[in-house]
Amino acid sequence: MTELFSFKTIEEAEAKLDSLGGYKDPAEVVPLKGAGAHEVAVGPVHAGVIEPGHFRFQCMGEDVYNLQIFLGYQHRGVEEAMVNAGGNIARQTALAETCAGDTSAAAAIAFAELMERAFPLRFQAPDNEALRLRNILLELERIANHTGDLGALAGDVAFLQTASFCGRIRGEYLNMTALLCGNRFGRNAIVPGGVRTGDAADKYGEIKTWIARVKPELDRALKLMFHEHSVCDRFDGTGRVPRDVAESIGLVGVARRASVEFNGDVMARALVRRIEINEAHTKIAKLIGGEAPASETPRFDGLKPDGFTVVVSTSAAWRGPLVHAALFSPDAKMVRYKIVDPSAHNWPGLAWALRGEQISNFPICNKSFNLSYCGTDR
């Protein structure tokens, strides 16, 4: 989905970009004092194969009183590089895709739709086949990530069967993506104006058979976990973010849905992922079955030559809405680019979820959100 805003001055346009938000580190570490008060510092380098971030668990006895999250370690200037790429569309597409690797397809879609909206004469409207492939890549990305995270959740409560099964099954979905475009993360396929791969349609039959084989295996792996009392006991009531809190701190995506439709605990976020896996499969089946994908980009307006234009493009990334926005000058030059990963809105939710928990519950709270460091830091 794209929106186009016109402004007379660059200040107004920049204010629009700034209003899209982003994560801000706590200004300083607020010390916690008193008998039994202590602090545990973790990171930036963590024990697992994950990205860097610094966490301060401020505890009263065994319980976490407050968690402060400090990010910025992954900042490498994606937005500046976008602007400096000055019209090299291939480079800009690659930059969008590498902002957060696990959200490559969603990012490529957001960037492509943004450019299509801004330059309707330069980029043709993507045809149905291009939209079909884009949407299938997006849904495969969703399934692969949710599957991986559910497996990681199982691993963190030492339920190793589902952890192992999901680890392998996630790979199957990545390989399906690679079958369609040659890259396991759906890269190098989605570009402004359409897609680069010509004959993806021939491969849909194979994808259909592949999913028919793997989906029951995934269902079995998840059923095993969700029906296991020892797992449910760990998930239920852990890391709860109540609905009113979720709404007031502005959570988005999976985390918000878990707090609005369910009770906002680790179990709720796990269930939402399971639901979204099923929804994504339904969507893929419809797309492969021939249903025409909805085109959301209105094509009647472009940049206005007498002012500054902000184009905001939102794609349904697996974590939640991913926002790409660009500010164009009157001579159609990109002067600022802004990326707001859904994670940027959800870090405070993770901090909230930890309140009153033991530090030992951090891993499952963290995995239930699985927020992107690089997407937030850009």
Binding site: A47, E51, T98, S164, F165, G167, L174, R184, N188
Partner: protein, 244 residues
């Protein structure tokens, strides 16, 4: 519990036959590029106009070249000009930075063989400490996947260690962002000797689409790709310790 046990038996062994069998690569897999001897400077310029990365393609000493250390293997150059092709050669890991440069007319590629005695001693027990320094998580995820039953690199004694104290190598991903410099240096310094640095992915090797920060040491192994395919990574790690 019984159900879990039955599910485990039904799942069976899922570890791929690679290695020693050939890996199962997607049909559109883009591996080591091949450039025709007679590729002109003009053709290189034409390909450069569609290349997303600065310096991935070039022309020097009368010959076209592709620097795999910068290349993100998107295939745009090959789509533009038939004189470049991406082969299915996945054995891309090398021990010297210069070996990542593929020159026009080069044929008969043989992956380099490890001769470093210290590295060869790690065969059967190679402990990696992953440090993501500005990485986009794609390299990290596809390294992590080697620990799943599908690849099971632990059968060769290769593991990701939780602490640098228990590690032989830092497995670096990302372009070394400014804010990760000191953490990377400290992690590297915390490893006992002998120690190595592995640079995985275009960002860690050259910065790729970004600018690369400084290494704590010269890498002893370069694994190109954006991200490298797990088969490429596993083969490179095995060859690094002389197990391939």
């Amino acid at each position: 519990m019984l159900k879990a046990f039955i599910a485990r038996i039904k799942e069976g062994c899922r570890t791929g036959a690679f290695p020693p069998a050939e890996p199962n690569l997607p049909p559109d897999f883009r591996g080591r590029p091949e450039i025709d001897e007679a590729t002109s400077a003009e053709e290189v310029e034409e390909m450069k106009s569609v290349c997303p990365v600065d310096g991935a393609l070039g022309f020097s000493e009368g010959k076209a070249f592709i620097d795999m250390g910068r290349c993100i293997f998107c295939g745009r150059c090959a789509a533009k000009c038939t004189k470049v092709r991406f082969t299915r050669e996945y054995r891309l890991g090398v021990f010297k930075r210069d070996d990542l440069v593929v020159r026009a007319g080069e044929g008969g590629y043989v992956p380099p063989v490890q001769t470093d005695a210290e590295a060869l001693r790690l065969k059967g027990s190679l402990q990696l400490r992953e440090v993501s320094a500005g990485g986009c998580a794609a390299c990290e995820l596809d390294a992590n996947v080697l620990g799943t039953p599908a690849w099971d690199m632990a059968r060769f004694g290769i593991r990701f260690a939780a602490s640098p104290r228990h590690a032989d190598t830092v497995y670096l991903t990302g372009p070394v962002s400014r804010n990760m410099r000191s953490a990377l240096d400290k992690t590297y310094a915390a490893m006992p000797e002998p120690k190595f640095l592995i640079a995985a992915g275009a960002c860690a090797i050259s910065g790729g689409l970004y600018e690369r920060g400084e290494y704590p040491a010269e890498p002893a192994l370069y694994i190109p790709g954006c991200p490298p395919h797990p088969a490429t990574t596993l083969e490179a790690l095995l060859r690094f310790v002389g197990d391939m």
